[in-house]
Symmetry: C2
Subunit: 404 residues, 2 copies
């Protein structure tokens, strides 16, 4: 007998028929003698409908009231899921985030989980009830309903798995698991059987959209092993866990492409201490997230500084920098036809030559590299956007990731 | 400055535009320097949509889960109403029934309010915030969400008005107030300026659908004066309150017709003690609500017993009685083409001749009376359904209720 936490996303519980199918899955897992705690999201589309109504009554809705509004989405699904289980003769009880004891801080619309008082949930599990908990939501110190922001239901599931000391945590989604690359781009991409927390985090930051970093970080912190798998079939998914020695044998776990970045180049910058600091302080104060940064000094003592920002923030970043650049006597050029390609793997820590292999493979394919940035388990390069897909296929092959 | 509780029903907050109009009304009342606590229902139609989804996943949904599901309806409206007020620059905060401290018993789908812990609400009111509370819902001792059943939002409003010691309680609905008769039937019907709790209760039980008895009983118990009025105009409504001497001068306050009753007649019943008791015990055990009862003894020592039940329960009542009637040697006939007409007024207590006036007016119109039942402030008769509307008009005129 295992204690299992399962999380079903919005498409998995998108309508009445899908909720009934989820209930069938739950029934089967429970029939094998397992204890089950199930986290569900709002039905796909409901959150957007509610947001549209909110904006129709008030252009900039108050965040406390937004949380009050949005939390109804999951509350509907937990009740329907519990009912569907009752319809199959399975004892089940639903709890809102507040009732499940999910205490958060007061940051409405992106609250952080602080503690989970799981006694009531564990008691129900021991009695053989399937416990259904509303994902994405909690309650703050003074009893206000909070929501956890994007990917919040995954976070609820991972945190609840830690709180009830679950043996397994399964994140059901509309993909089969984590792939070595985006299968729509790299036809030879393979589903991974396992991946480390750190690799998953680097892939997420590299543009792979399977899961938000926050949930993976939480799982890593509490060493909660979880599996990403599909609710539309019974295939095993990808297990995300702490690295083991055998996992380090694989040099590169996957390749990710992010086409949502733009490159800003500041040229003619006097190469003296503090110029770069002032530029990035200005961007940070305006809330612009900067990803890769490289700087080169040219012969005449003037530096070229390039960095990437999300494409949606390009105009804002440029505008915000203008007064400072005028003062510094520098100019800024924008290139939004770039992409970022990253190769990720814990094996890099103990293997040399990874960068060389990557650069050689791209050179052989006559793909030019504009920027390079490395971390302990990741190499990212910036290249022309129209070469990104080809580069992903080339790298995928070069690191032996292709399906045989 | 007054402390005012307002309640807006499902049609008043039926869509985004109507919610904005409600917010405008609230803003105007607050601008006059009043403290405002507002109770809202779910948008019209939402409860039925949720029920349909519930029945689609499970034919007989669990009542705890039904409450979990249905309570999302008001939660959506309170958030949207608060946002709409923010959009108008009015400070406002929304609370679910649980957050508002509405404690109920554990009878899911028709819970009774036990206490209201209103300190937080009063503190907000004193700070000048408009407090928006979800009607129809509360929380039971162990933190389960409960709902109050039909007319529950009216009950929430009346109970909150008592709890926060409101100066006024206004129940906004889609009618202008309480009328002397149904204006669709009696063209000369007038809106009443005031009516006593008892008259309102008798009218409700007589088939007038303005408000559920429960809310009126609650208001009577706590002597909470309230006004029933329309949210679609600014006309004064009908004030419901304890009777005063001047109110007793009116003999008949209103005329109500209930066409939703059927008459069962048990004949050939041996007139011995206990037979009637057994019949009504059998019906009560099956949950059949019996309204009027009359019994006559005929010459041969056999009794005829007639009573009325809601039309929807006629078949059930008949089936349930068959074994007992066989034992008693009696037979049952059903007449579902009847109606009940009631005249109601606290003035009856001190005026004689009311029954005589009613019977004479009907006799003059050649309308036959099948059953008669009287209480301290009401006379009800059963008559043929096709004569009911005409009888209402005749009685309305006979008691001087016609608009001049």
């Amino acid at each position: 007998m295992s204690r299992i936490v399962q999380k079903y996303g919005g498409t998995s519980v998108g309508d009445v028929e899908r909720i009934k199918r989820v209930a069938e899955r739950i029934k089967a897992v429970r029939a094998d003698g397992n204890e089950l705690l199930v986290v569900v999201s709002a039905r796909a589309g409901v959150t957007n409908e509610l947001l549209a109504r909110a904006r129709a009554v008030c252009p900039a809705p108050d965040e406390r009231e937004l949380d009050m509004l949005l939390s109804t989405g999951e509350q509907e699904t937990i009740a329907l899921t519990a009912m569907a289980l009752h319809g199959l003769g399975v004892p089940a009880v639903s709890y809102t985030g507040a009732q499940a004891g999910i205490r958060t801080d007061r940051t409405h619309t992106k609250a952080k989980i602080q503690t989970i008082e799981a006694r009531r949930l564990v008691a129900d599990l021991k009695e053989g009830k399937v416990v259904i908990v509303a994902g994405f939501q909690g309650i703050s110190e003074h009893g206000h309903i909070t929501t956890l922001g994007r990917g919040g239901s995954d976070l609820s599931a991972v945190a609840l798995a830690a709180a009830v000391k679950a043996d397994k945590c399964e994140i059901y989604t509309d993909v089969d698991g984590v792939y070595t690359a985006d299968p729509r781009v790299v036809k030879t991409a393979r589903k991974l059987d396992e991946i480390t927390y750190d690799e998953m985090l680097e892939l997420a930051s590299a543009g792979s959209k399977v899961m938000q970093s926050r949930s993976v970080e939480f799982a890593k912190k509490y060493n909660t092993v979880f599996e990403v798998r599909s609710s539309f079939n019974f295939n095993p998914g990808t297990i995300v866990k702490e690295e083991t020695q055998s996992m380090e044998k694989v040099v590169v776990r996957g390749v990710a492409v992010d086409k949502d970045q733009a490159k800003l180049t500041v040229s003619g910058l006097a190469d003296k201490p503090g110029s770069a600091a002032r530029i990035f302080r200005t961007l940070a104060n305006a809330g612009v997230i900067v990803d890769m940064i490289i700087q080169n000094v040219s012969r005449n003592g003037l530096a070229n500084l390039s960095f990437t920002v999300p494409q949606s923030e390009t105009t804002k970043a440029d505008a915000i920098l203008q007064p400072l650049l005028a003062e510094l006597g520098a100019v800024c050029t924008i290139d939004d036809s770039i992409a970022k390609l990253s190769v990720v793997g814990v094996g890099m820590k103990t293997h040399s030559g990874v960068a060389a292999t990557l650069f050689q493979s791209l050179a052989d394919a006559r793909i030019n590299i504009q920027m390079i940035s490395t971390s302990e388990i990741k190499i990212s390069i910036v290249l022309s956007q129209d070469k990104a897909d080809e580069a992903a296929r080339v790298a995928h092959t070069a690191f032996g990731l292709d399906a045989r």
